[in-house]
Symmetry: D2
Subunit: 151 residues, 4 copies
């Protein structure tokens, strides 16, 4: 498998076998070493404010963390010579979020939400990504910065 | 109703009528103008890493945001002269998270998780709280800082 | 005076009468309600690491805070009807940094440094800006997010 | 030299040969693998707001970064078997701030300022510290969280 195929397989695994991503309906649409896109649809169970009917802040943090995390994962894999499933799985165990800042810019209203991430620091040990959340009308709902352990 | 009764009523409302809190099983145990405690039990649907069986980072961010948010809510109410339900509800609409930093210190493993918040800045417009997440064995899993709009 | 003239006067005041900005040699080149640019030259006294000869992290935080702060100031002024010096000065007293996150991406090396800010949330009470620091060779040295009180 | 003597020597070097620390008058009073204390006196050149005569936010960020950084340095040294000056210097080169969040809680007024740091995550690659700034009257001026590369 080449890198593109591996990334697709990982997206599929995280979309279908990661319980909390499934609970929220988060779908990784694309990721590589530079950027990613994760989408999800409005569901009433994601409401954090029953009066105003807006997303819970934790939903926003969850999707930003995932969007940045898959870019960090791509950077782990990009450093590997041996692309066997065993070696990939072994090295992905190193992936963890060190810290995450979420800036809530506008109320989380919409029918579909699109999170995008872009790498801003890529190293052998630590990667940093910045993320944005928009709705289907391109309202800029949130901004985030995530620091990830990658080695 | 006095302030303590009002706080209890709000905790009950947020525990029972806030869809995302219920989805995650978050239970506000106590809050006032200075501090709060929110608890939840391990559930497999909260897993963010199927291999290592640890909490999704978004679950951690969600509970820290809630723990800080209720302390911010208490500070809104503490500034009111008129404690009628209408006035409380009107003023609680001002509450929103401006930004949230989450530091992931240890893997999110455990049977029960306890989030605590403590106010560190209390103003008429903005409140800042710092939060901690521990498991039932008192392992320090995460640390957070939240800035909230309160006026 | 119109808004552009007022912004120039404020830049001049902050460049020439703000002791710490002068100590570091920070020069606001331009700012409006959407963005800003602040520059400074390398000086040995700004060294934070005598072996590697790189900027102290506090220098980076200082210039990012200033770059975001002037955009926040512009947003305060933009909300005023009365543009008399007294009213401007009175309202600028409300300006303060609530919190600032700085991400250090690359070593702070260079001859000249350029900080830019862009507003990402503009409200009557709170403004949020994101900032970048580059050197004269366009190396991306740091990234930042600042939350400011504006009302 | 034992560890305590090494820490004293590093404090002396950073106090006396780090240009930006000297410019601001930052004095490391004590540090070990768990905590640190850094002090500095008010000086007019540290003013960030000439009307209100308060510390520039960058001064606050600088001293918090230093307070956390020395605790991170202690954690680097604590992992070493070979405590020769060459090996210590070689390993301290790995020290860098990854990110720093500063929460400005009260105006930076006072005659003397005391920054303290406490480690909250200690690992072979990344350390996290949280910091506080008080003045001589024990007013809590700022709070911070810093993530450091240590390996």
């Amino acid at each position: 498998m080449n890198q593109t195929q591996i990334f697709k397989q990982i997206a599929s695994f995280w979309n279908n076998d990661m319980p909390f991503n499934q609970l929220l309906g988060l779908q990784i649409k694309h990721f590589d070493t530079l950027q990613s896109e994760v989408r999800f649809l409005w569901q009433d169970k994601l409401i954090g404010n029953p009066i105003q009917k807006i997303l819970h802040g934790g939903v926003t943090a969850s999707v930003l963390d995932l969007a940045g995390g898959v870019v960090a994962a791509a950077n782990i894999i990009d450093q590997l010579d041996d692309l066997s499933p065993e070696n990939i799985q072994y090295n992905l165990r190193k992936l963890s979020t060190i810290d995450l800042r979420t800036d809530f810019l506008r109320p989380g209203k919409g029918q579909e939400f699109i999170a995008t991430a872009r790498i801003i620091r890529s190293g052998s040990k630590v990667a940093v990504a910045r993320m944005e959340l928009h709705n289907e009308q391109n309202d800029h709902i949130a901004f985030g910065t995530g620091t990830y352990m990658v080695g």
